[in-house]
């Protein structure tokens, strides 16, 4: 199927004629060897579908970790002009609002972990609630609940879960303004009340890693990273709270389609103009969910530090457990970008895509003004994860966005079939990692071969200029739901 037109080694065009109603073309960032796989599922069609959204500017974009989602593909970036008729679509964010990744560095090295890795992972597994039905140790209610939703990570820091400087090292300082708890249903509040400070299941994880390779000494050093050092990566989101906010909003958006006479090729792309009650209500409710997620990762980071402290008999400060950064990869944000020489206020939807702001951007804390924003890219649990840095080219080309992870290759059933005859333990041992999970099924579904090779994904964004490689992290041990 030669529908994609090769623009260069890393850019593929979905022409405006791919389907009727496209307002802009689509651009997929990928290398030749990935294209066959991308064309196999319906993700190209989903890139084209998103190009029909009212107010979309420049192009419907997809990162190299693109795969089939619902509504927008995973890896999709869509920006709409909110000063005109631009829409907001919950399907461009997804159910796990502000799913994201946080990275902590330590002063520990591989040597320090010798003989202690299993104890460390077991301690983390005992300290951090994981899996289905897990309840966090925090019980939030009433006015406290509202504070979580309004303040995000800052709420957790005020309660003693974390350090004030963690907020400097979090995208948007861990809080989207404009959160209005009165616009969140009682169902969402009920789903979220016992889940704050829990990891969740599926692809969420908490991983102990070692910096295996440094690509850029200057950037690595500015981020406090060096070869042989131990890091911790936390991947989680807004839990049942965010899922319910999305479910509720989609129902409201369904009705808005008729009201505003908007036609979409897929009901999961239901949307409303930014300048409408429905659009504003979604943004205010989504902000609550985003803030919930930041408070969640802040609590998870705190318990991680406590677990390390117990195992190594030193305070988290003495272990140098500073936060490198925290990124959101399922979110819509109001940002200013230049499109065809014109400065526009846009609603940038990133669904399985990471913000990657360049050096000098005013939203970055002073210590990252010269490096660009740290971009944290989790891989599968066997091979690797990466830290990259945002670039000016990403700002000019992709609304300051880059990839978000490896991207799934095999469905969950296919992963189970692929394992036939072998135990998941054999598969995990092959990579030499120590894993603890609440559910064995999760380990099977999440095994490395179910994912695209993360090396290919980051190679594309690095060579396309959408982020710069900083370090490669190799997993040592992981806890999962």
């Amino acid at each position: 199927m030669a529908v994609l037109k090769k623009l260069d080694d890393y850019r593929w065009l979905v022409p405006k004629g791919y389907r009727p109603g496209m307002r802009v073309p689509g651009i997929i960032y990928a290398k030749e060897s990935m294209i066959k796989e991308i064309e196999k599922d319906q993700s190209v069609e989903q890139v084209a579908n998103a190009a029909t959204l009212p107010g979309i500017v420049k192009a419907s974009l997809a990162m190299p970790d693109i795969h089939y989602g619902y509504g927008l593909p995973i890896g999709g970036v869509v920006a709409t002009d909110i000063s005109k008729d631009g829409v907001i679509t919950p399907g461009g964010v997804g159910f796990d609002i502000n799913c994201g990744v946080r990275l902590l560095r330590t002063d520990l090295t591989l040597e320090d972990l010798e003989g202690r890795l299993e104890k460390l992972i077991d301690t983390l597994f005992a300290t951090v609630p994981t899996g289905v039905g897990s309840r966090g140790p925090l019980k939030i209610k009433g006015s406290q609940y509202k504070e979580v939703l309004r303040k995000g990570a800052a709420w957790a820091v005020e309660q003693g879960y974390g350090w004030p400087q963690d907020l400097d090292n979090t995208e948007s300082r861990g809080c989207i303004p404009g959160a209005d708890p009165s616009l969140v249903s009682s169902k969402a509040q009920e789903r979220g009340k016992d889940q704050l400070g829990t990891l969740g299941s599926g692809n969420h994880f908490l991983e102990v890693q070692v910096v295996e390779q440094v690509f850029n000494e200057r950037l690595a050093s500015a981020m406090g990273l060096e070869e042989g050092q131990i890091t911790v990566m936390i991947h989680s989101g807004s839990r049942g709270f965010g899922h319910q906010v999305c479910t509720d909003s989609l129902k409201a958006m369904e009705r808005a389609l008729q009201k505003y006479q908007i036609q979409v090729p897929d009901r999961q792309l239901a949307c409303a103009p930014y300048n409408s009650q429905e659009g504003q209500d979604y943004l205010a409710a989504m902000a609550c969910a985003a803030n919930y997620a930041w408070a969640n990762r802040q609590c998870l980071a705190h318990w991680t530090r406590q677990a390390f402290s117990r195992v190594f008999g030193k305070s988290p400060q003495a272990l140098g457990m500073r936060q490198v950064y925290d990124v959101a990869h399922n979110i819509v944000k109001i940002e200013e970008h230049t499109v065809d020489g014109e400065r526009l206020r846009l609603a940038v939807h990133r669904k399985g895509a990471t913000r990657a702001f360049p050096p000098g951007h005013p939203e970055l804390p002073p210590h990252y003004r010269e490096t660009g924003q740290p971009v944290i890219i989790p891989g599968d649990m066997g091979r690797a994860s990466y830290v990259l840095a945002g670039t000016q080219q990403a700002m000019e080309e992709t609304f300051g966005s880059t990839c978000h992870g490896a991207g799934r290759l095999l469905s969950r059933q296919a992963a189970k079939r692929a394992l036939r005859g072998k135990s998941i333990q054999e598969e995990i041992d092959r990579y030499g990692i120590y894993a603890r999970a609440s559910s064995k099924a999760t380990l099977v579904e999440e095994m490395p071969m179910a994912y695209k090779d993360i090396d290919d994904v980051v190679e594309v964004v690095h060579k396309a200029g959408l982020a710069r490689l900083v370090v490669r992290l190799r997993p040592l041990g992981v806890i999962k739901g």
């Binding site: 509504g71 169902k187 599926g202 049942g240 319910q244 479910t247 009901r267 559910s439």
Partner: protein, 138 residues
């Protein structure tokens, strides 16, 4: 024949649901959902809960029905084995659901379902009855 079939998309899972009547279709949707979450045989029909959902049309009602069940599972730990549909119009369903709440050790959890989606969701009538398709975010 089971009243549902599980199909896969790259990242998520879907249910194809069958029923000779619409009531049976909605009942099988419940069974399909809890089959994905746990082992239906391990759920004891100990308690009864009346569950309601509203929709704009049949597709919206089916998605809303599944989402109501997802909510009851995630927020309150309910696992349902069966239901009897008492009222069903394109805009509303009310059913008595039989099951129990999640017990660690008793109920192996296979998948956590985040939500039912509208993505390519459909409900079709054919000579033998009804067929529906829903993709679930897991």
């Amino acid at each position: 024949m089971e009243g549902f079939r599980v199909f896969d998309t790259t990242a998520d899972t879907g249910l194809e649901i069958y029923g000779t009547t619409r009531e049976e279709l909605f009942r099988n949707a419940l069974r399909g959902l809890f089959h994905l979450i746990t082992d239906l045989d391990r759920i004891e029909p100990k308690e009864e809960v009346t569950v309601e959902a509203q929709g704009e049309d049949w597709v919206d009602l089916l998605v809303s029905w599944l989402n109501e069940l997802v909510f009851l599972q995630d927020a309150r730990g309910w696992l349902f084995k069966d239901c009897s549909v008492e009222e069903l119009t394109p805009h509303r369903i009310r059913a008595r659901c039989l099951g129990e709440t999640f017990q660690e050790g008793n109920h192996p959890i296979k998948t956590l379902v985040k939500a039912a989606t509208y993505h390519q969701a459909r409900v079709e009538e054919h000579p033998q009855g009804f067929r529906a398709r829903v993709v679930l975010d897991i």
